[in-house]
Amino acid sequence: MNTGAPDSIESLNLNDLATLLVRCDLTSTDDSKQLRESLNVALAKASELPRVREALESATHHLDNIVSGAASDPAAVFSEIGRLIETAIEESEGMIAPAGNITAAIPNPPPPSAAVPPTKPDPAESQSPSAVEQLPADADAGLMGEFVTEGYEYIEGAEAALLSLETNPDDMEAVNTVFRAFHTIKGTSAFLGLVAISELAHRAESLLGRVRDREIRFTGGYADLALRAVDILKALLQAIQEALGGEPLRRPEGYGELFGLLENPEAAGISSETVPEPITPLRVGDILVAEGKARRDEIEMVAVDQGEQPIGMAIIKSETASLTDVAHALRTQQQIASTDRAVDSSMRVRTDRLDRLIDMVGELVIAQSMVAQDSTVITGGHHGLAKKVGHTGKIVRELQDLSMSMRMVPFKGAFQKMARLTRDLAHKNGKQVDLITEGEDTEIDRNMVDVLNDPLVHMVRNAVDHGIEPPDSRREAGKSPVGVLRLAAYHAGGNVVVELSDDGRGLNREKIIKKAVATGVIESDKGMSDREVFNLIFRPGFSTVEQVTDVSGRGVGMDVVKRGIDALRGRVEIDSQPGRGCTFTIRLPLTMAITDGMLVRVGLQRFIIPTVNIHLSFQPVAGALSTIAGRGEMVMLRDELMPVFRLHRLFGIQDAIEDATRGLLVVIGDGDRRCALLVDELLGQQQVVAKSLGGGIGNVPGVSGGAILGDGRVGLIIDAPGVTALARQLATSGAEYVTGACSLA
């Protein structure tokens, strides 16, 4: 335990020495060394006090014995040192001025023995701060921005903890998490001069402080109060973010009310179940009592007038227990605490730097494969070289895996937001809903989580608002009054799958068909499978709900879901059984950073067509091709007639194959927009890192970006919908083809 090292060893006095001893780990040479140094300093200071000096010298001697291994029973010698220091303290009492701040030597006073948190509101603060506020004149936008980001993180953590408290109100670790969140926000905002936030956070902290001290239980009204405080704080953070953009800094609605409530919740009739002074197993005193080293009433006496100093010191001074016993108890306490604190350490890195790193690693992989495929390496004679190149390849691939994993985040955060949403929505609708989450640790590309958030929100809203019935109807249907919403994420077949299922009433096929026919989306449901019918709800503006609520029913929701998932190159499927519930299954690629593509050649140029856009490719027979009105070319494939577009004409490429029967037709697009692109040949499948073409070029129709190919040159990625649109535009306007490509090839 060398974490307790004070900044300056010279400032040590005997009390600090005792603390140091208490925290000292016998087996650590560092600690022993530090103790030894402190003893030396104390010896030098105590030169005027012979009896103190004597005791200290003896202690030093014992310590040396421990360090050199001469002591047969280190523990016994250690207690002897403790006794000697105690003697020294007693001897010096009254001669050396007491330490100004003993607690300073212990950077992390263990919570249970720490001073009482500010539970009583300061009368000076009892008035709500004025409603108009300005950002402090000397506000540093950078600092503020960081504060907002950090604040959101704490709030997110606090929300998760508050929710876990819902089910387990005695979870002290969760209480501490929330407390810390409020506390940190309070501290930083006060530092930045953000009065509204710091005062609210202060009061919320006080509330949590009372929970932590077991003065009140975290249930009922108190839980709602804490959740509201989190909401308002979040709104305040948002207000600051907007204020940084030049907007006036507004207090969110309900700020004043909540501020008043927090001051004295009981006065506002918020239910309290005050528990009498409870027993915390973590307290030093309790450990001592449990071990039979001290009597409870004595410890409590000490605790009452411990004042500013840590309880351990107070106990030692009052001679309720010996230093060794206290040390032992403190160590036990720390062991318990440290097992709770084993958290992965992490640091924040700017996303653009990370993206650049991942890009560079991607290029490294390509560059390495260029080396590996170089003829000097491949064509024998250089066994040593080939071996080294192979070894580099392994490292590079591992590096790539690692860099990709850096951008992966677990679903946990997204799911927690849904938990909160479900709780609020159910509350509002008078329904009872349990959200069960599975696979929270499944990882997904960070950029995708953000995009996925909106679809998830709409799906959860839909499920709670329309899917799950009110408790009464559920009872009538013979179901439990509490609806179950299941949100699960898992990996399957190279995809990430997110499933949201409810046990509500399910989709109503007849109602959807009726609505679809009424709005002219379909003529009849003839030949439509359930799945096809259900997919109709993804159409914009489609809603079967008669009443529009403020939650859902405007018919925009499912459209958003579909668009969000399309943007992620994912698929969504619906399964529904009347009266049993409905399941949405979303399949997403693992990452957006890499595009699976088909490398095709047209003339001398190569293009990448994303595999997800390709239905199939085939070599047409002469009879299947026909020309309509001398211009539009069509091809017949399995009784389906589709237009043929020649990529080389669209892009003005020379030297390409003109005879379609010698080239290859690649079928892209969906439904009535399906068409066949003529290319010279397929060169194979390839994974590429999609990049923008650089700002100078702007949008090129039919091209979505570029990618570095295996030989280091840039290949253009075909934007399938763009190419189709371009071809149609050209066909209707009568322009046959356009040159534009410059003569450099």
Partner: protein
């Protein structure tokens, strides 16, 4: 980064130390990277130049103006390449050993420009730079910073931001998106 440029720059600095002051005072003097285009010498402000690379494989981008050669892979970054000859309406020529790409920072973007030959880095004092002459209304001289005189030769100093100005960029997108029919070019492709 621009190893060639910096070395020459340091070399020149010792020769014309006084000129460095002029840049701040007069605003138009300073160091220029000079290059050749159809036998004429041009200059670019050195601060706009990022690096000089040899000619490499350019991937043409369809449906862009003729002067945009395409894109290249600059150590993992895709950047567009402009042929300055075509941009200035000169005839295109075969690339030689001396053909170079100068990577410039123009309007916050990295763009490569193809030139016939890179010459040197010159310190030109403000008093040696003359206003661009007026050729009448037909000739647009907006993109010329001035005419620099050095060792008895004349250099056209370019305002690269204007040369590769936004108008060009927007011109590109408008030609390809708005009215494709006006883009109709003579049929070189055999009819089906």
């Amino acid at each position: 980064m621009n190893r060639t440029g910096t070395d020459t720059a340091t070399h020149n600095q010792t020769k014309h130390r006084s000129a460095g002051v002029d840049r701040t005072a007069g605003g138009s003097g300073g160091k220029f990277l000079t290059f050749f285009l159809r036998g004429e010498e041009y200059g670019l402000e050195i601060l706009k130049v990022q690096e000089i690379i040899g000619m490499m494989g350019v991937t043409p981008v369809p449906r862009t103006p003729e002067f945009i050669c395409g894109v290249i892979n600059l150590r993992g970054k895709v950047i567009p390449i402009v042929d300055l000859r075509l941009k200035f309406g000169m005839e295109s020529v075969e690339h030689t050993e001396e053909t170079c790409i100068i990577v410039v920072q123009a309007q916050g973007l990295q763009i490569g420009i193809v030139v016939d030959k890179v010459s040197e880095v010159l310190d030109i004092a403000a008093e040696d730079i003359e206003e661009p002459p007026s050729f009448g209304t037909d000739v647009n001289t907006d993109y010329i910073l001035g005419i620099g005189k050095s060792e008895g030769r004349v250099k056209l100093l370019l305002d690269i931001d204007r040369v590769l100005s936004n108008q060009d960029v927007s011109a590109i997108s408008s030609t390809v998106t708005s009215e494709p029919s006006t883009q109709k070019v003579e049929e070189t492709c055999s009819t089906q």
